[in-house]
């Protein structure tokens, strides 16, 4: 998809900078052990890694949702447009233009699709006309949502709920969307469709994306730049194109090795062995 775009060109201006953060849950569980990443304005940045690597935790540290789960950024800093946001509450961060789409969609089940979308505009104060215009914009990207606008979100399909979650985030007029695991539980075709829409939102609306994904294959096809996280640390990063061609990534995350797809455990023991050998 993006093989031929010049990835270096978009990496000039970082809107979001995560500097060596450490995150602790419940005062004792150390989950992120110094994660740093830069999110360039207008780009799609992927955050990759297996179960429990710390992707969700990183996104929640940025959005401020960590506090409601008794998690805390204990070291390092997160800056959005130069301003520290790691102690801000989620509402402030949304007003600054950063909104998170949570893993597992989290639509408001008993609200209709349209009410879900309107709730996304909660922090806005630019008037009904502007909000309705954006509602139409969301319906243009997701025509399916327009058909289901009067249905209770809880009764819509997984794909529709994912669209609803992304649409709801768009309604806050964000500059940056933190998108957590959009592919989760969706059929490959639908995953492709959702990523295509993310890409056009990125290109047409200029929305910056930070995308957490286990589905490395899809994520690296659509992203410009990628970070690979493993047990709370960034173990590799680079332009998406390079990562896709990297032998290790191919082997561990894309399942392209000659011996066939490896399990995460294999990856870990391999890493240990490799570290030990080197």
């Amino acid at each position: 998809m993006l093989d031929d775009t010049d990835t270096a060109a978009v990496q000039v201006d970082n809107v979001l900078e995560v500097n060596n953060i450490e995150v602790i849950y419940n005062h004792v569980i150390l989950v992120l052990k110094g994660v740093s990443l830069n999110v360039p304005k207008g780009g799609i940045t992927a955050l990759l890694g297996g179960n429990g690597a710390g992707k969700t935790t990183t996104l929640k540290a940025i959005s401020g949702l960590l506090a409601s789960e008794r998690g805390e950024v204990t070291k390092g800093s997160i800056k959005y447009r130069g301003e520290p946001i790691h102690h801000a509450d989620p509402a402030e961060t949304v007003k600054k233009g950063v909104v998170q789409v949570m893993e597992g969609r989290h639509c408001f089940e008993h609200l209709t699709i349209e009410e879900n979308l309107l709730t996304g505009a909660y922090t806005r104060s630019d008037g009904t006309a502007a909000i309705n215009a954006d509602l139409e914009m969301v319906y243009d990207y997701f025509p399916r949502l327009k058909e289901r606008r009067r249905s209770q979100a809880g009764y819509t399909s997984g794909g529709e709920q994912q669209m609803c979650a992304v649409g709801r985030a768009l309604m806050s007029k964000p500059e940056t969307i933190l998108l957590d695991e959009p592919s989760m539980g969706l059929a490959p075709q639908l995953v492709e469709q959702i990523f295509e829409i993310v890409k056009s939102i990125n290109e047409e609306q200029g929305v910056t994306f930070l995308l957490a994904e286990q589905n490395t294959n899809v994520a690296l096809r659509f992203a410009h730049y990628g970070y690979i996280l493993e047990s709370g640390r960034v173990v590799m990063d680079g332009p998406a194109k390079d990562l896709r061609e990297n032998q290790d990534v191919k082997e561990f995350y894309l399942g392209l090795s000659d011996e066939g797809r490896k399990s995460y455990r294999d990856v870990r023991s391999y890493r240990r062995r490799k570290r030990w050998l080197s």
Partner: protein
């Protein structure tokens, strides 16, 4: 019209009126429970507190007079003025909002994410604390809620003559319906319609429902849980005030008022803890049910006094056969 039927209809109507009050109290529970998962045991005490505050303000009582006198050796009791009823109601609403804010700020803010049982215990604590505060603030003696305040604004009392006459002319039997009950029903209906419209069609109402569905997701779109919780406690406080006025006008403002919370429990089991229509219908069913049961079965066959337990028995039956209540929100489960 046969006499027995006429009596039955009258009992039915009176039951409806009593049901309206149960429904009002239950409504306060539902609001808070839906938005925060807290079962607010203090709802009844809030009604008492609201009614006492209203009476105190109306009569120009000095709040915490006993405390002030004990500390400073003074002897103040009254400001020497009376407050117009509407102004007094407005001031009481402000007090209830302040209470909502304080409850959120000093109690529940610190208990976010705790087990439901802990939140429930906290509301029991709150109930007794509030009862103590009400006592300290306004004194513990029984007070008549001035159905006619000094300014001449009256809650209507007594038999509705028009209904009595009309039904007498039509059926040869005049129904006894209390004016106060009629007013209570109308006020309750307006309150419920208002609340439903608020929840359904306003931005904050939508956010309130969103919070009820999914706290985390509501946070993620920038809704402040704190604000929404203060909002629902304020609304519950307002509902408590209305219930307190109606109940207080009927049987005086006294500490037993706080026990109406216990009457609301069976209503909730019947109507479901999360449904506003459920609270209304549940309240009416219990109100009518207990009056009719007493009239038709209790008094003639069981030696009376069935009103004390009928509601609980009915609720128990419901718990066995339909645990989510009549209108309990469907738990959406996709396969």
């Amino acid at each position: 019209m046969p006499e027995q039927l006429a009596y039955t209809i009258e009992v039915f109507l009176n039951g409806l009126m009593a049901g309206v009050l149960y429904a009002l109290v239950a409504l306060g529970f539902v609001l808070i429970y839906k938005a925060s998962g807290i079962f607010n045991y203090a709802q009844g005490v809030m009604a008492l507190f609201a009614a006492m505050t209203l009476v105190g303000i109306q009569n120009g009582q000095v709040p915490f007079a006993h405390l002030i006198n004990a500390i400073f050796g003074t002897d103040v009791h009254k400001f020497g003025w009376t407050v117009h009823s509407f102004l007094a109601i407005l001031l009481t609403v402000i007090v209830m909002i302040a209470l909502a804010w304080a409850v959120q700020k000093f109690v529940f803010k610190h208990l976010v994410g705790q087990e439901p049982i802990i939140l429930f215990m906290a509301t029991i604590g709150l109930a007794y604390f509030l009862e103590g505060v009400a006592d300290l603030m306004w004194g513990s003696e029984l007070k008549a809620l001035n159905v006619c305040a000094a300014d001449g604004v009256c809650l209507p009392q007594g038999l509705n003559m028009w209904i009595d006459e009309t039904t007498f002319n039509a059926f040869g039997y005049g129904f006894f319906i209390d004016n106060l009950d009629i007013v209570a029903s109308i006020v309750a209906a307006i309150l419920v319609i208002g609340l439903v419209m608020f929840a359904q069609y306003t931005k904050q109402g939508r956010a309130m429902r969103a919070v009820a569905d999914d706290h985390q997701a509501a946070l993620s779109v920038g809704v402040s849980l704190n604000f929404i919780w203060v909002l629902v406690w304020s609304l519950a406080g307002f509902v408590a005030l209305v219930a307190g006025i109606m109940w207080g006008a009927k049987s005086g403002v006294q500490f037993s008022l706080s026990l109406i919370a216990l009457k609301a429990l069976p209503v909730l089991m019947l109507g479901g803890f999360t449904s506003i229509p459920g609270a209304i219908v549940g309240g009416l069913i219990i109100g009518v049910g207990e009056k009719l049961f007493e009239f038709l079965i209790g008094a003639p066959f069981l030696g009376g006094a069935t009103e004390n337990w009928f509601a609980y028995m009915l609720a128990l039956l419901f718990l066995v056969f339909r645990p989510q209540g009549l209108f309990g929100e469907k738990i959406i489960e996709r396969v």
